[in-house]
């Protein structure tokens, strides 16, 4: 039970951080578009989308992994039927 609680709290933690990053991106959407348009003149601005992509991939990736785990979805483990030594 405590394990579940910890899993959920970690899920919520990364979820909130991800949501905040997304909210910031879209509140600042106009500035971001302006920066993209100005990139041909100021090449270093290309670092902006790269930094955003890294940050959001990291937090959102952590969140989704925990989310499906918390939802109880996991890959099928496919143990083959054990073979006895005699069958070897």
């Amino acid at each position: 039970m405590t394990h579940d609680k910890r899993l959920w709290s970690r899920t919520v933690f990364w979820g909130v951080i991800t949501a905040l990053l997304y909210a910031t991106l879209f509140i600042e959407a106009e500035s971001v578009i302006r920066l993209a348009r100005e990139t041909p003149q100021h090449p270093w601005l290309v670092l902006v989308p790269i930094a955003i992509a890294f940050a959001i991939s990291f937090t959102h990736g952590a969140f989704t992994g925990l989310f499906w785990e918390a939802m109880g979805l996991k890959a099928a483990s496919k143990p083959k039927t054990p073979q006895t030594a005699g069958q070897e």
């Binding site: 879209f26 578009i33 993209a36 041909p40 290309v46 790269i50 992509a53 990291f58 959102h60 054990p82």
Partner: protein, 639 residues
């Protein structure tokens, strides 16, 4: 140059982008890398110009590729040299591909690039989709994937010696001329710049032309994808074509979808995945035909079409695309739910059978945590497992326990479905490792067990749980000086996550004749270890030595506490079947424990761990970690 047009975002387009990302991710996770063939056209259908769609797609992919590459590098599946060389050449290919796109855009505007991308899409999807369909029919006949011998073409390429161009690659285990690498990388990059899916060329070329094992090809492709994706984002970013809003909205859905799709594949057969892949590819291909007249008319290459006809054709194309997406989503979700239900039923049945079978022995020895009826020993076929196999065998012969030799086939569902040989190779390797391990045993009751998992530690923990193992026996990596490196990441995680005790054995270990040594700090973890050690000593007919350490810097009160702990243990076990000796010594705990074990020639050390705390680093407690890392004999971690 004309300014790049970004699309207006409203609630509906945001929702659609996230949904498309989700479905694209799900399809990508289900049929292997290459969801871009869904995502790029879908973004174009929402009104994004081809260049923005391709650029934004590349930008959402490269950080994901990095994470994947780092993960698989840990399993030794990545040939970094090959990946970086191919990635750099691919970068040049991308530059050329992007140059073609930019030239077309300058000459013919957005309609020109749209037409170009659509035509490349149709050609590539027709070839790849057709190939996949053929593969599906072959697999369905066989009903399983067979590992294939090294392709003839690869053997020939490896035999060609061109002086001054030869480079050795560990993934191939041979030298290959750079002249063969260059075109592969270039084509991969060119395709990626055009339709954002370079892996369609890269992975098959590495397997069939260079002779790279499939599992390494798909892992190395991640390095290429990262190098290329980062480069591509910079190139397109400099043109102002990366719409980070689109990238991140696609990512929002895609990360959810990709994991769901990957999980879905573990519940279906290979050929079912191939069928879905072929059907979606060919449907997407079909949808592109409806757009082409519009592009041709905008370019003046055919008699101009009126607005209404172009609109109707576009709607038709969009509908076909939507059908492809919905088809993919429904297939993945139904196979997932049906598979999970069947799996659950099967698990319940096995559980019932197992509990019936095991009722008798459990009733005979009702000692839940010190029972030793079944040991699971992990074997990866390497020298590191040898000590674990010998110790497990010794322990099984002394206690009459059954030994299961477990090998984990590390399979990443996302890639294994795209390249079926991956799974077959991983399974074949695991079978070899398990058989070698089994051959090394002499215990009376011994079986082998092969499981598939995306991570070795998860495979071991879950298989041990399913087999209801009483003890996991595992080897220890012996590399550099740090304690964590001595233990190995997988071993540390097994200790942290296993629900039964874990016996960690250094290379060449065996069960010596000496006493059982328990280390305690007086905590409940120490008590658990001592109790387990006492039961084990009784079972094996050995003496028990209980050790408690005091740091030189600690107070006299702490020392008295340690003495009291040892006295408490001695009192509790006095009069029992096991002879007990208590030791309190001053020094660093790990040093005291390891030295005392050597002094007594202990058969094994039993130590308590903290159990799971969420962070891998803290999974077992630092003293236990260092004892396991430094001891020259088996260490049993008890929780």
């Amino acid at each position: 140059m004309a300014e790049v047009q970004f699309i207006e975002l409203n609630a509906a387009t945001v929702f659609l982008l996230v949904l498309i990302g989700f479905i694209g991710g799900m399809v990508s996770g289900f049929i292997g890398s290459g969801g871009a063939f869904v995502l790029t056209p879908a973004m174009m259908s929402l009104g994004a110009p081809a260049m923005v769609a391709v650029a934004s797609n590349i930008c959402h992919k490269f950080p994901k590729a990095l994470v994947g590459a780092v993960k698989r590098h840990k399993y030794g599946q990545v040939d970094v040299k090959l990946g970086v060389i191919l990635g750099m050449v691919a970068e040049a290919g991308m530059l050329a591909g992007k140059h073609v796109m930019t030239s077309i855009k300058q000459g013919f505007g957005d309609a020109g690039t749209d037409l170009y991308v659509s035509v490349v899409f149709i050609v590539v999807l027709a070839i790849v989709g057709g190939y996949v369909l053929r593969d599906y029919r072959r697999l369905k006949r066989l009903d399983h994937a067979l590992p294939e011998a090294k392709p003839g073409l690869a053997r020939w390429i490896q035999s060609v010696e061109i002086p001054g161009t030869m480079i050795h690659f560990k993934a191939i285990g041979a030298r290959i001329s750079l002249l063969f690498i260059l075109p592969i990388g270039f084509a991969t990059g060119m395709l990626a710049a055009t339709i954002a899916v370079g892996g369609f060329i890269g992975v098959p070329a590495m397997i069939y032309l260079l002779g790279v094992p499939a599992i390494m090809a798909s892992a190395t492709e991640l390095v290429i994808a990262f190098v290329m994706g980062l480069g591509g984002t910079i190139f397109y970013g400099l043109e102002g074509a990366v719409d980070i809003r689109l990238s991140m909205l696609i990512l929002l859905g895609s990360l959810f979808g990709i994991q769901l799709g990957a999980i879905g594949t573990t519940y279906v057969k290979d050929y079912q995945v191939k069928l879905v892949m072929a059907v979606i590819m060919l449907t997407v291909l079909f949808s592109r035909f409806f757009y082409i007249p519009g592009y041709l008319s905008a370019l003046g290459m055919i008699a101009p079409l009126d607005h209404e006809s172009v609109g109707t054709l576009k709607t038709l194309g969009d509908s076909v695309l939507a059908v492809a997406l919905i088809l993919g989503a429904v297939t993945v979700l139904t196979s997932l739910t049906r598979g999970m239900a069947e799996h659950r039923k099967e698990e319940q049945r096995l559980e019932l059978e197992a509990s019936m079978a095991r009722l008798a022995p459990i009733a005979a020895t009702l000692e839940p945590s010190a029972r030793l009826a079944r040991l699971v020993v992990a074997s990866d076929g390497s020298q590191y497992s040898s000590g674990a196999l010998t110790t497990a065998d010794d322990l099984a012969r002394a206690t009459g326990a059954e030994v299961l030799v477990l090998s984990v086939a590390v399979v990443n569902p996302e890639y294994a479905t795209a390249v079926p040989e991956l799974r077959a190779t991983a399974l074949a390797n695991a079978e070899t490792a398990a058989s070698l391990g089994l051959a090394a045993l002499s215990a009376v009751r011994r079986n082998r067990l092969i499981v598939e998992a995306d991570d070795p530690y998860r495979g071991i923990v879950e298989a041990a749980e399913e087999a209801r193992a009483d003890l996991i026996v595992i080897g220890r990596r012996g590399k550099r000086g740090l304690a964590r490196d001595l233990i190995g990441d997988a071993t540390a995680k097994v200790i942290g996550h296993a629900s039964c005790p874990v016996l960690v054995c250094p290379r060449g270990a065996h069960l010596a004749e000496g006493p059982i040594l328990a280390a305690t700090d007086g905590s409940r973890f120490g008590d658990a270890a001592t109790w387990y050690a006492a039961k084990l000593a009784e079972r094996l007919g050995r003496r028990l030595v209980v050790v408690s350490a005091v740091l030189p810097s600690q107070t006299e009160a702490r020392r008295r506490e340690a003495v009291a702990t040892i006295e408490r243990v001695e009192t509790a076990l006095r009069g029992g079947p096991v002879a007990v000796k208590g030791v309190v010594d001053t020094g660093r705990p790990e040093q005291v424990i390891v030295d005392q074990a050597r002094h007594e020639n202990a058969a094994l050390i039993v130590i308590g761990t903290h159990g799971r705390t969420g962070l891998d680093r803290l999974l077992m407690g630092s003293v236990a970690e260092r004892v396991i890392g430094f001891a020259d004999r088996p260490v049993l971690a008890v929780r």
